[in-house]
Symmetry: C2
Subunit: 178 residues, 2 copies
Amino acid sequence: MIIKPWKILSSTCLQGNIRLDRCQLPSGLCIEKPILEYGNWVTVLALTENMEGVLIHQYRHGIQKIILELPGGMVDEGESPSEAARRELLEETGYHSERIVQIGCVSPNPDNHTNLIYSFLALDAKMVAAQRLDATEEINVVLKPLDDLIALAGSGGLLQSMQVSTLFFALVYLKRIA
Amino acid sequence: MIIKPWKILSSTCLQGNIRLDRCQLPSGLCIEKPILEYGNWVTVLALTENMEGVLIHQYRHGIQKIILELPGGMVDEGESPSEAARRELLEETGYHSERIVQIGCVSPNPDNHTNLIYSFLALDAKMVAAQRLDATEEINVVLKPLDDLIALAGSGGLLQSMQVSTLFFALVYLKRIA
């Protein structure tokens, strides 16, 4: 079968960055599809020289829970993903790395998100400053040895799928997958 | 710092399963937050007895591209995640496995999605039937050796973050992480 894209018949703004597309499918069927138009995001696995991951606790309103995450955020206007990764790491945790590399890129959800999220690995990360949080952020920093993080993620302790992806990319980069 | 949850001041339906919460943050700041209320999802890494992954190509309207994915979908009313995983695998690919295990569970995006996605590994998967697709689906099945899939995912060929997470959980389960 030749898979064909859908045809957008009309597109209206529902609210802010959410649009509603009326689409015609290859079968002829017409459906309405809400789409989230975000700019790109970054997420960073920062490891100290002792191979401890620099993690954060924060509240997430979609699931209404305080969870363990990797630092990250939005790529600002005029910024490269790499610059955004350094900035978010510094702002959210006070950590900085001279050895930051892009290790992957995925779609948060290709069904309803327009954007991509770039994964970075920051090696030899050091605390160099205090946190500088946005008005909407409350964040606690916590360090965990990489091996503990792998075990924790494997048993469901890293709930955000994009960050589990980042851990996968880091393990590929670090040649930890046999 | 004690991280506190946000207080929902009001909640209105924007469209279908999208609600708009007006929230008061611990700082006192009030913001509007769109939230996607989905039921839970499943995704399945099915491996044949030759350790080939059963993958699919399908169109995804968020990024308007045809991409390589793992099979999966929504957990129906009254169905367990495991039943949904078996059903989606069979419907989308025609493959069935007697050895299907839940290997992980993540949030698609804890910031704006309410639901969870359960990851399954299906071993010794065999083609037993023709596809039975929904009216909105056009899907091609493709087999790839697991090692090729790991390499492909590591270089960005598996774009959906929830499915990269599933691959990570499978590698933990199969003791492939050193």
